[in-house]
């Protein structure tokens, strides 16, 4: 080794001097994050059943959310109009990659269950043999500041401020429901194991929850096969629900290709999602015919020209009406 070091000393030095800044650009983690266009995913594998066929004409869209960017990635992403680069705020950085993954899986699980409830109930209005029974079992921690060791992603909460978790059921205002804090900026949480925990808010940190539902019985029987893949997040709720609705009622959608985004609560409320512009850019690359978006977010994408028809919806029944409208055209 010494022989080569001596022979090529100058060359090795020059290469190292050039190499170090290059490594810095390719490895150093900046405080920036990116939201980039992703891919379409068929909803056909999300639900499975032996008793009916899942419609394969519906597509959800996932976008790439990545943190931390390297200086090289940041340079490239800032020059690409389809990507959104921003500073990743401290409260969002207060988590690990593993917890990010768990959060994606947890919200996906909740989304699959709530979409199934909404779809079965809507389809049950037309065909009374379609039935679902479910139970609300409490709240699950979606996000908690890392300083709170007792609260992990997925920890079950059965009481808030001395009230039963059932008091939080009739508030279908969105997927992630923030529980209101008292005047002292605190809340008391009762964990499933009976342990009580008082959370006092510090700075801009936050607590977020997802509903914990359990499907007791469904007719026809349904399997949540989407729980087994790595892609997480709740933004496919609306389209998963529509796909299930069309499958349950055996609606023929062969002539059209439908995509969309938006969360769906058990009560049929369509909620907002992140990265909507990137989802529209992703959809523009494919040959879809109709795209569903949450009405409250349409203003974010109204300036982007699309080669498909965009439906703005607030609730699941409205989305179903738009689906029939699309089939008539």
């Amino acid at each position: 080794m010494k022989y080569y070091f001596k022979k090529y000393k100058i060359l090795i030095l020059i290469v190292i001097i050039l190499y170090l800044p290059l490594l810095f650009c390719l490895l150093y983690p900046t405080k920036y994050s990116v939201t980039a266009p992703g891919e379409l995913r068929s909803t056909a594998k999300v639900y499975q059943s032996d008793e009916f066929t899942i419609n394969d004409q519906f597509y959800t869209i996932y976008v790439l959310g990545y943190y931390p960017l390297t200086p090289f990635q940041s340079f490239l992403a800032k020059r690409n109009h389809e990507m959104e680069v921003g500073i990743h705020h401290a409260e969002y950085r207060d988590t690990t990659k593993l917890n990010e993954f768990k959060k994606g899986q947890l919200s996906k699980e909740a989304s699959l269950i709530e979409s199934a409830i909404a779809a079965y109930e809507e389809a049950g209005k037309i065909d009374t043999s379609i039935q679902i029974e479910y139970e609300f079992r409490g709240l699950k921690i979606y996000h908690a500041p890392s300083r709170l060791k007792d609260l992990e992603v997925g920890s079950e909460i059965i009481g808030v401020n001395g009230n039963s978790y059932l008091d939080y059921l009739n508030n279908p205002s969105g997927f992630l429901d923030l529980v209101k804090l008292d005047d002292n900026n605190s809340i008391e949480l009762t964990l499933k194991n009976g342990k009580k925990f008082t959370y006092v808010k510090q700075g801009s940190e936050y607590l977020a929850f997802v509903y914990h539902f359990k499907i007791i019985y469904s007719s026809p029987k349904l399997v949540l096969s989407g729980l087994n893949d790595l892609v997480g997040g709740p933004s496919g709720g609306l389209i998963q629900g529509l796909s299930l609705y069309a499958s349950l009622l055996k609606i023929n959608t062969e002539k059209i290709k439908i995509a969309g985004t938006g969360t769906l609560s058990y009560a049929g409320f369509v909620g907002e999602i992140g990265g909507l512009r990137q989802k529209i850019y992703t959809a523009n690359r494919s040959d879809i015919d109709y795209f569903f978006v949450p009405k409250s977010q349409y203003n974010l994408i109204s300036d982007i020209s699309t080669n498909y028809l965009v439906f703005q919806v607030e609730c699941f029944s409205e989305a179903v009406d738009k689906l029939y409208e699309a089939l008539k055209e």
Binding site: Y4, L23, A36, E39, F72, L76, L230
Partner: protein, 130 residues
Amino acid sequence: MKHSKNKLSIYKRYLNIARRIREESCFKSTILSMIGAVIFSLFLLSVPILILVNLLIFTKLQLFITILLVFLISVWPFLFFFAYYKLLSQYHDKIKKMELKYVYWSESAVSAFILLTFSIAVAIMILGGI
């Protein structure tokens, strides 16, 4: 019959050269050559690999980038063994005079095949989202 005899003779030649290398080399020179070979091969490959990993934010290119990554990972043993035998022959004159191409190609090819299989499996798992 003749073909299988040739194959056998190549294998025997490989075993013979590998045994002679073991006899001629010592622990210190082997370790130093390995360290040098790791540094050399990683030095050459880390920049292209890191550039490709950085480009994974472009989801449209993910399949193409993954194929390139799998290719680069499979190339690594060839660079490593090239540097390893070059360095080892610097320490031992007798090894320098040996026909090293048999051991170089066979060891590189076997290692590359193992890495290729492993990296294809990982790539399919990641791209398939399973």
